[in-house]
Symmetry: C2
Subunit: 199 residues, 2 copies
């Protein structure tokens, strides 16, 4: 799937191919070593282009970071899937999706978390992303009173679990399978999503 | 309480007073801006000593970091309190203690998390600390099968909540009181601590 391999039908010098190759390399680098230690030079080398071309396309490392994380996946489609799933099944769906998508090595969320830990700008980026992509839809995803607080708490649990599992490598979490974690955590997420006034 | 104020009965040049003043300043600096951006110079200035004296006592910024976080609080005493509390009350106790102690500005745990996000050495330090201080006592704290996985999951939830509340500043979490969060999260932590084979 890597566009660095220049698939049939695309010209080697195609700007879109080059741009995607740089973004793919950037996500891998930021997710792997964080914002500070990722270098334009190494990202360019991984993408097979000149560092000057990276700056031409994205202006700066920060610009590259923003571009690499602006839409790491189709947020709207994921939200649609969640809303179309019966509420009683959303806890497991959210836990499985989050742990699978964001817990993978090179995940944009890991990259963002690493950056947010030391850069106010990245923290703001992630906070705004969570607000716009997730919390502003809390009424749909977790109907009932305090929907934003319940959804934010569920999200914070999943973020913490990915941090413990991938970033810190805490043994019991790192050694568990996704299925084991979903069995354990899914019911908790479900509890946060369920309307507390309907209990 | 600050030892920088040189309490009565201590000589101004007392090495213990100086050492504690440096450690206090270091914890504030690491917790505030992270490992990378904290400087020996600024920490020395905050402690009212010469930077050379900081290096004399701790060797390097990394040595200072290790010393500042080796025992940020009395782990043994906290563990004793938890074990002496009836299991059915431990969920609330853990949630309240964690959110209060580690969620405060300048908390060593925030400092460690910031550092761990970008430095493998700090991630290792935190992982080893969690292993030794928490998980190795899982049988006492959360008796039953899979005690380490259940306790690690509970801890990861609390870490994630502090990250969302303090580090990212996600509004619903940042605006909630500790009591509101304990009401919401305490029962989840309790569920993880309860022996699943006794359900």
């Amino acid at each position: 799937m890597s566009e660095r391999k220049r698939p049939v039908g695309r010209r080697p010098g195609d700007p879109d191919v080059t741009r995607e190759a740089i973004l793919t390399a950037a996500r891998t680098a930021f997710g792997g070593v964080g914002f500070d230690r990722a270098t334009i030079r190494a990202i360019a080398a991984d993408a097979g282009v000149d560092p000057a071309l990276v700056l031409h396309h994205f202006g700066s490392k920060q610009g590259l970071f923003a571009a690499a994380h602006s839409l790491p996946f189709d947020v709207a489609a994921l939200r649609k899937t969640i809303v179309q799933t019966p509420i009683a099944e959303r806890g497991e769906l959210l836990a499985r999706t989050y742990l699978t998508v964001f817990g993978a090595e090179g995940s944009p969320m890991l990259s963002l978390l690493r950056a947010a830990a030391t850069h106010d700008e990245a923290a703001r980026m992630l906070r705004e992303f969570i607000g716009a992509a997730v919390l502003s839809h809390a009424d749909e995803i977790a109907p009932g009173p305090e929907s934003q607080l319940r959804l934010a708490t569920a999200a914070s649990h999943l973020i913490g679990t990915v941090i413990g599992r991938v970033l810190l490598g805490v043994a019991p979490l790192a050694n568990a399978t996704i299925d084991e974690l979903v069995d354990l955590i899914g019911p908790t997420i479900q509890r946060y999503l369920d309307d507390p006034s309907a209990r």
